[in-house]
Amino acid sequence: MRSFFLRTAVRVLLPMLLLFSIYLFLRGHNEPGGGFVAGLTAAAAWSLYAIAFDSRHARAAFRVEPRRLIATGLLVILASGLISTFSGRSYLSGIWFSLPVPGLGDIDLGTPVLFDLGVFMTVIGVTLGIVFSLEEVEE
């Protein structure tokens, strides 16, 4: 679609939507949000880009092949569960540690965050894989 307005708007919207998706991702730990919806938001941002320009440009700008992102996301999920198996607890048990960050105090990090990151990546990969190929069929 060759629309000047859409293209201009997307240039502004894309980074904002991506920031928003990271916010959703981090918020998701204790409040509504999380990897799944954050992944959808990020995928929506890139889909918008693909609509405004075309999927070839979007693929180039996205840099990562969606298939690889799916696989990496699933590997991250596997790893997040296996950390607890290897440390002698049952699969997917949450393991936490705190990371002192200057200026922010202690930040709690744990395997559930890693799990969520895997979901985030997989959702982006799947959605964009579908959106890009659908658009290519249309072309």
Partner: protein, 500 residues
């Protein structure tokens, strides 16, 4: 050990993901696939050994205790069937190298293959009805794509029937789960088994029986029992041989497993109704399957109808609801998974050699491929129930169990159906191997990767022989599993007994 109960689910997942990453590098992709399948087989065998020596193993995923979290359970039934399934997965992963072309491989065939195995393992290991539903869906997703992969016309037609019927079954399954959750407030199998007794005291049994019958219909469609089997012969012969072999060995058997599981731990209050119904379903299932097969003239369609007939034997054992009957059903299921899949593998080789599945256009393979002909006879005669092969002992134990339970009709039908099975196996033998080929037919095609085609068939034939010659060991395993199923207290204790 129970910490590693999750391994049979994770290994295929990891393999599938690595195959996805390596999809552009065919050689590496194939190596990953076969290695992953071998590891999976090793894990399943180790699990069977552990369950045999230590009893039922339980893992509460994430450390959440039983009725709240996700529970994985391996008792003898699950472990035995899982080992059989993983054996198939391993041999088929080798066979796929020859049978599946480079084009389908580039569509991530290996990834889908291993995700299907993951779904099957999950279904065997889960201790929770809702998770069983989820694993069914994982399995079906992968199978939908595998069935349609390649996109030939006949394949699409088969795939649509397959998808529609299976979605319908899933809807029944989900509806049953909703009602059950509303009645009892839990879907953990062990917890349900404890609480379901309380429900029958408070309420009329009507609702509970409704749930039982809904589940019977849902699993009945998935395992293709009479009169819900029609989707199976309409679709199973359409995809490539490796895929139909995989489906014939695994998918319907997961349905049978679910029937056995649900009707031994949950719905045992009214066996006069439920188990008698299953018994009466099993008789026409055996008969229609075998009669349907007699009428068919395509190699794989004959085999597809036989799947139905043999599902009848499996649920016959469940319908008897005695330890002997269940043992027979379990032994029969394992035997059938291996022998039937093997026949599908042979059909794939025959199709590659002579370019057709129509029996009238085949012939003469006994002369040109004596090894293949010999390998065909092992599973074929085993399926027909000739000693000393596994099918003989499987049928013997089921027939004996029927007579012990005074179900003379069912036992008699099982004997008669065996004869018809022999008839159809002889038909396949005569048409494809024995009769001379039509004179105007083109010469047999080459078989370039001979080992990849024949080693899996030989391996499965050996297992069929071993299950017959070592029937004592396998049967005592099945009998232990049958006793375990008739006394669900161990299962319940293992799950609810306050383990971490």
């Amino acid at each position: 050990m129970s910490r590693w109960l999750v391994a049979p689910i994770l290994i295929p997942m990891l393999t599938g993901v690595l195959c996805l990453l390596a999809v552009r590098r065919p050689r590496l992709n194939r190596w990953i696939s076969v290695t992953g399948a071998a590891l999976e087989l090793a894990a399943a065998v180790a699990l069977l050994a552990a369950v045999r020596s230590q009893g039922t193993l339980v893992l509460q995923v994430g450390g959440w205790p039983a009725p709240f979290g996700i529970t994985l359970v391996a008792d003898l039934l699950s472990a035995f069937l899982l080992a059989a399934a993983c054996l198939l997965a391993f041999t088929l992963s080798i066979y796929s190298l020859a049978s599946i072309g480079a084009q389908l491989e580039s569509f991530a065939y290996h990834t889908l293959y291993h995700f299907l195995i993951m779904g099957v393992s999950g279904a065997f290991l889960t201790g929770d009805l809702f998770n069983l539903y989820v694993w069914f869906e994982v399995m079906l997703m992968a199978s939908f794509v595998l069935m349609a992969l390649g996109g030939e016309r006949g394949q699409m037609e088969g795939a649509i029937k397959y998808v529609t019927l299976n979605l319908l079954a899933s809807a029944f399954f989900l509806a049953a789960l909703g009602i059950l959750y509303g009645l009892v407030g839990t879907l953990n199998l062990a917890d349900l088994a404890v609480k379901i007794g309380g429900v029958t005291e408070r309420q009329p049994q009507g609702m509970l029986m409704a749930v039982a019958l809904l589940l019977l219909v849902a699993f009945g469609i998935k395992s293709a029992v009479f009169p819900l089997f029609f989707w199976l012969p309409a679709s199973y012969h359409t995809p490539p041989a490796a895929v139909s072999a995989l489906f014939s060995g695994l998918l319907t058997k997961v349905g049978v497993y679910s029937l056995i599981r649900v009707f031994t731990i949950l719905f045992v209050q009214n066996p006069d109704l439920t188990h008698n119904l299953i018994l009466w379903i099993s008789i026409p299932t055996m008969v229609t399957g075998v009669l349907g097969a007699v009428a068919q003239n395509q190699f794989r369609r004959v085999l597809s109808f036989h799947i139905i007939s043999q599902i009848g034997y499996m649920i016959l054992g469940l319908g008897l609801f005695t330890p002997l009957g269940l043992a027979g059903a379990i032994y029969f299921t394992a035997h059938n998974m291996i022998a039937k899949t093997n026949l599908f593998l042979v059909s794939g080789v025959v199709e590659r050699l002579q370019g057709s599945q129509w029996l009238s256009r085949l012939g003469g393979l006994y002369v040109t491929q004596p090894l293949l002909a010999g390998l065909f006879l092992v599973p074929a005669l085993s399926l027909a129930g000739l000693p000393p092969l596994s099918g003989f002992f499987a049928k013997l134990s089921l027939i004996q169990a029927s007579f012990d339970a005074r179900q003379y009709l069912a036992g008699g039908v099982a004997v008669a159906v065996s004869l018809f099975t022999l008839l159809s196996m002889m038909k396949l033998w005569n048409e494809a191997f024995w009769k001379p080929r039509a004179e105007d037919a083109p010469a047999d095609a080459e078989l370039p990767d001979r080992a990849r085609w024949l080693v899996p068939i030989a391996l499965l034939s050996l297992v069929t022989l071993a299950m017959g010659l070592g029937a004592n060991w396998f049967y005592s395993l099945a009998l232990d599993a049958g006793h375990q199923l008739m006394n669900p207290n161990n299962y319940i204790l293992a799950v609810m007994g306050g383990q971490p």
